[in-house]
Subunit: 335 residues, 2 copies
């Protein structure tokens, strides 16, 4: 099927670029309450599923053993900007497990956030693995391995017991078979599995509602979601979309982006989960789509709805501050 | 019409993201020798048409009056990375016209190139207008105004005589009516006009061949194209796609990118011009498309063709240097 145009980018009075996408909203039973495009298409969730990948950190008892609170749990689910607070907290998590950044297998990179990169350039010679946007997740992985007695070395590999545990968890949540044929390697070297977008959304709906989950998993899931909602800065960073969305409606929205135009969100009070994918992998389109869909579930003209719609339909300004066009969602998402 | 998928981005053994696009190859008569997608769709050329916008700099006599050579002309057609050489040369161009960066109306921004931005962060407090990727074009505009006696102030405005001259030139080259209805404002505040992609390509084919142009315009056009091909670093910068493509086939390729997934190229020896637009505005797709199309016109298995195909089909590596997937063009561009 041809995915519909869900986001347009205008300039002057014309549409300059168009993004196609898939979007789905499901409840805890997996009932589809909204869909657009091919929601059965296998989609790599990339970083959008970090909260699923962090479940062993809690279920193994590692989080409690190391005394992790909301900030540490949020960081374990994060794609952070590499701001000083993120970097320091990842180092402290590792220190709790008597280890350090040498244990991280995520690689190093400069921040993708311009302001943070400028700060890093002025204060660092080169970034290290703690600056990697995935260092919180990886610190959680290392802590889990230390606590459970899994070998730390090689924790990113497909056959490592931690990745096997994560694979089983994600199969249970998404209802999809995740084997080598569905596996790719993520930016930080861990496996990422292509799952139907609908299954990804259903997995998050289960996490939010506990429906169909054993009590231990239901509790761990809710604890991670609550931690992210309580500490949105640690899930992304200053000015980032995930952080802003969770700040707009405190304790009402969990939201997490993934590379290549994926975004997942949960509305715990309503027991709903949303997953979107921009066909072309564009973050700007995924952000607009998820905000537009979230806005449907808030009261008309409420501050939350207005805040979300302002992120879904965004003016673009040029280097002189002139308004040159807009990113805007199409009627497809309001049908 | 639905534009075809022209570029795929893979991960593992699956396609993760898909780009749709339009592409056209025309000769000096405007004959379409290849096309894909809606080549009549009105497209903002953005920075891809800077060589057209630089014609008054030569035709007015300003370039000769100020002693500009290939480097200055290439910079006038550039979207440069803000490397020191670019910034200094823009300042020198303005000094030739007894003016300075205060005359520039393009606004200021940090470099979009990570390596250059890190250097800038370590050496600058804040960027100024000379660091704007369009500062070479704007320096050319200011020099043209000084030489012709046009007011410098307001040279970016729709009704300024320089922008009127450029509008008339672009109407002549593209065969399209360019009025306020077709006009948007570019990132650097000058007008940008939506033209059919085919007309944009035809305009460049005229510039390359001189067909249908008065001798003065034909000569000025060729001088700009030759200057860019002679000094590809000054058209973009270290590691940038335009620069690399022109370095692959010296004096055989002129190439210029524009924001929102536009790319134009010229093969002067063959009298052909290529224009592409990624429907979603993605640069990675536009780069792959233009390189794949350029490769068609080089000898099979030649170094030029191999170099272009290596840019059209590119492996992607993660932070640990692992090969995780590829950007690759589809059969649509080889039909």
């Amino acid at each position: 099927m041809t995915n519909p145009i869900t986001v347009e980018v205008t300039r002057g009075n014309r549409v300059e670029s168009r993004h196609r996408g898939m979007a789905v909203v499901v409840d805890g039973d997996g009932k589809v309450v909204f869909s657009a495009g091919d929601i059965e298409a296998a989609t790599f969730p990339r970083s959008a599923c970090k909260a699923m990948q962090a479940l062993p950190l809690i279920e193994s008892g590692a989080a409690d053993a190391f005394g992790f609170g909301d900030k540490e749990l949020a960081l374990a689910c994060s794609s952070h900007s590499g701001e000083d607070e993120h970097v320091v907290l990842a180092a402290l998590m590792l220190a709790r497990a008597d280890t350090d950044s040498d244990a991280l297998e995520c690689g190093a990179h400069w921040s993708a956030d311009q302001k943070t990169l400028i700060h890093q350039a002025r204060t660092l010679q080169v970034p290290i693995s703690l600056h990697n946007n995935c260092s919180g997740k990886h610190s959680g992985f290392v802590c889990t391995c230390v606590h459970t007695g899994y070998a730390v070395e090689g924790y990113v590999e497909y056959d490592h017991p931690l990745q096997r545990d994560i694979r089983a968890i994600m199969e249970g949540l998404t209802g999809a078979v995740l084997d080598a044929d569905h596996c790719g390697t993520d930016g930080c070297s861990i496996p990422t599995y292509a799952v139907p977008l609908k299954g990804l959304a259903h997995g998050f709906a289960k996490m939010a509602t506990g429906q169909g989950l054993e009590p231990v998993r239901a509790k761990a899931s809710r604890r991670l979601i609550d931690a992210c909602m309580a500490e949105p800065f640690y899930v992304a960073g200053t000015g980032r979309a995930c952080t802003k969305m969770m700040e707009i409606a405190p304790a009402k929205i969990f939201a997490k982006t993934g590379a290549e135009g994926v975004f997942c969100a949960v509305l715990p009070e309503q027991g709903l989960s949303i997953a979107v994918k921009a066909e072309d992998g564009a973050s700007r389109a995924a952000e607009a789509m998820i905000c537009a869909l979230l806005a449907r579930y808030f009261e008309k003209d409420s501050a939350e709805q207005a805040g979300l719609l302002a992120m879904a339909n965004k003016p673009m300004h040029n280097w002189n501050g002139r308004h040159v066009g807009d990113v805007r969602v199409t009627d497809v998402l309001f049908g």
